[in-house]
């Protein structure tokens, strides 16, 4: 068991009764001892009824420890059954690669809604991590909000393993479905020019449709400024939305792209306001979501 899996087990022990823990451990051992797929899917299916569905309690110390062991992973909003399922999956024997992959794929194939949530939450614990990219991409196509949230929220798998196209698709889908982009881990390290080009078009479409623009869209553009992006920023600086204008100022402050810097001189009033309000991307984006 890795240190992270050990930690999950400790959190499970703090959130389950003796009876519930011993059932889980026994099932996990039984499945380790023989390759019985029926045993696996039955136990996997029974976890909610044999453990519990309360939202887990986890100490700040354990949270910090987990973040050290697996950067980006947060489990404080999980229910116990989800945590148990993820740990249970992390203990599957993986030495026979083919059997391992096929038995987990089979679980995905027959999964109900909560099982899907657990399976996608467990991606980061699966062996052969690159083998799960196509499954993750399939999950990103899902329109079931809970499934999408299991992939987007506090899950480090996408940023660590998705290729650039799949990652960009995930970011776009997060904006498009109005999920909380601040909980998608790895945005900074995976920022890229292709994504920025897509997002500038997306922001322009939103503007034409008179729909609001998430400040994070602009944040992801800041490192890849172009003339087209500059035109967009100027439109926002002149626009009706205070949040969008402020976001545009933040972009212009963060970039070294000269034409954007010049915009700041052209619109000093907005910049002054920014200094007063002490705004950050996260504060601004919180305000944005409150207004949705």
């Amino acid at each position: 068991m890795t240190a992270a899996e050990n930690l999950l087990l400790r959190v499970i022990q703090l959130n389950t009764s003796d009876l519930q823990q011993s059932w889980l451990l026994k099932k996990s051992e039984e499945i380790g001892d023989n390759d019985n797929q029926a045993l696996l899917y039955q136990a996997f299916g029974q976890i909610p009824s044999k453990t519990n569905k309360a939202v887990i309690k986890i100490s700040e110390l354990d949270e910090a420890l987990l973040d050290m062991l697996i950067p980006g992973l947060k489990i404080n909003h999980w229910q116990t059954d989800r945590l148990c399922r993820v740990w249970f999956l992390s203990q599957l024997k993986s030495d026979n690669k083919e059997a391992y992959l096929s038995s987990i794929k089979d679980l995905f194939f027959y999964a109900e809604l909560n099982e899907l949530v657990s399976l996608y939450s467990a991606l980061i614990f699966f062996e052969y991590p690159y083998e799960w990219v196509s499954q993750a991409v399939e999950g990103i196509r899902s329109n079931m909000g809970d499934v999408l949230e299991a992939i987007i929220y506090d899950n480090p798998y996408p940023a660590n393993y998705l290729d650039i196209d799949a990652w960009n698709q995930l970011v776009c889908k997060t904006f498009f479905t109005n999920k909380n982009i601040m909980r998608l881990w790895g945005l900074g390290k995976r920022a890229n020019r292709a994504l920025s080009v897509i997002l500038i078009d997306y922001a322009n479409e939103r503007l034409s449709a008179k729909r609001s623009i998430n400040p994070y869209v602009l944040r992801l553009v800041a490192a890849f400024m172009t003339a087209k992006a500059c035109t967009l920023m100027e439109k926002l600086l002149n626009g009706e939305s205070n949040i969008e204008a402020t976001a545009a100022v933040l972009v212009c402050m963060q970039t070294n792209y000269l034409p954007a810097k010049r915009l700041l001189l052209k619109y000093p009033a907005v910049k002054e306001k920014l200094a007063v309000d002490n705004l950050t991307w996260n504060n601004l984006t919180k305000q944005y979501y409150v207004l949705q």
């Binding site: 299916g45 999964a111 809604l113 099982e115 979501y289």
Partner: protein
């Protein structure tokens, strides 16, 4: 299930103004409704009318499936996509899983479906085997009905029995006789689509009697009121069986309103439109009333994790009174 020429003949309206204010403080449980065939408008209206939980039985989709994958994907939608869709409107979605009687007649396919069922019936939120039983009352229907009764016994799940449109009385009697033959506890069996002719025997034998309020082809709700007056509220429940035919997803709350209007006591109304369904299907161990008895967070401005993103993708309301769509 519906659709015959009677509908056209009978297609006139006799309006009693809908007054759901009579039931605005009640919660409803519709234990038989096929939401895969319904729209988001229906979900919205159901939530508004006080429906907090539903059961979607696996059924015939209006045309026969020709391969196993169609069954698998259908079952998958009942435990996945449809469950999610309902949650967007604050409605708790359960299902029963089974091979319906019509498609039991395609034996080669039925065999494969039987092998698939154990993969699905133990899932969370599956509250029974259903809807199964007789349609044409053929040998094949009987064979798969019996096999699925055995499956229900093995899994300790309630059974939701569809009774035939044609030759209903004898079909209902036969369905119950076979269930008893297989040693099922009648308290674990819900006999569906009853009418004035079948109800007495069903109750006398100790089964649950479900009534489908479905225009033209099944029960009207004025008849339903009379049945509750005569037989009381023990082991009786009402459903809409709304599907792809002309049917009414608000049949349960509307019938509750009519019952109150006609002087049936509130506790009786509550039993036949909410409580009894929970007692019967709750024997699966899969229903936790607390999941839907307290008002769900469907306040559109409710905050989650300190922002207003709607939980699980809950649907914002659209203004249907305006011709402007934005």
């Amino acid at each position: 299930m519906c659709c015959n020429d009677e509908i056209r003949k009978n297609f006139t309206y006799q309006n009693l103004d809908i007054d759901l204010s009579l039931v605005k403080d009640l919660k409803f449980f519709d234990p038989h409704i096929h939401m895969v065939s319904r729209t988001t408008d229906d979900y919205q209206a159901m939530a508004d009318a006080g429906i907090v939980a539903i059961i979607e039985p696996a059924f015939w989709l209006g045309q026969p499936r020709t391969g196993l994958d169609s069954f698998r994907d259908y079952y998958s939608s009942l435990i996945g996509w449809e469950r999610f869709r309902a949650s967007q409107f604050g409605i708790k979605h359960y299902c029963t899983i089974g091979l319906n009687s019509r498609e039991a007649n395609n034996e080669p396919l039925a065999e494969q479906v039987m092998e698939l069922l154990p993969r699905v019936i133990y899932k969370e939120g599956v509250v029974g085997i259903g809807e199964i039983g007789f349609d044409d009352q053929t040998k094949a229907e009987e064979k798969y009905y019996r096999l699925q009764l055995e499956l229900a016994k093995t899994a300790s799940l309630p059974v939701q029995v569809h009774t035939p449109h044609r030759d209903k009385k004898q079909g209902t009697t036969k369905s119950m006789k076979i269930a008893l033959e297989h040693g099922l506890d009648p308290g674990m069996v819900i006999i569906d689509h009853n009418n004035e002719e079948t109800v007495k025997e069903v109750l006398d034998l100790g089964f649950w009697a479900a009534f489908t309020i479905y225009p033209f082809t099944k029960m009207g709700n004025e008849r339903m009121v009379e049945i509750v007056k005569k037989y009381g509220s023990e082991r009786i429940m009402i459903n809409s069986a709304a599907d792809w035919g002309i049917s009414d997803p608000l049949a349960v709350p509307k019938t509750a309103a009519l019952m109150i209007l006609k002087g049936i006591s509130l506790p009786d109304v509550e039993k036949v439109t909410y409580r009894n369904a929970i007692s019967a299907f709750g024997q699966s161990g899969m229903i936790n009333e607390a999941d839907f008895s307290t008002p769900a967070e469907i306040d559109q401005s409710a905050s989650y994790q300190k922002n207003t993103i709607l939980r699980g993708g809950q649907q914002p309301r659209i203004d249907k009174s305006s011709i402007v769509i934005s």
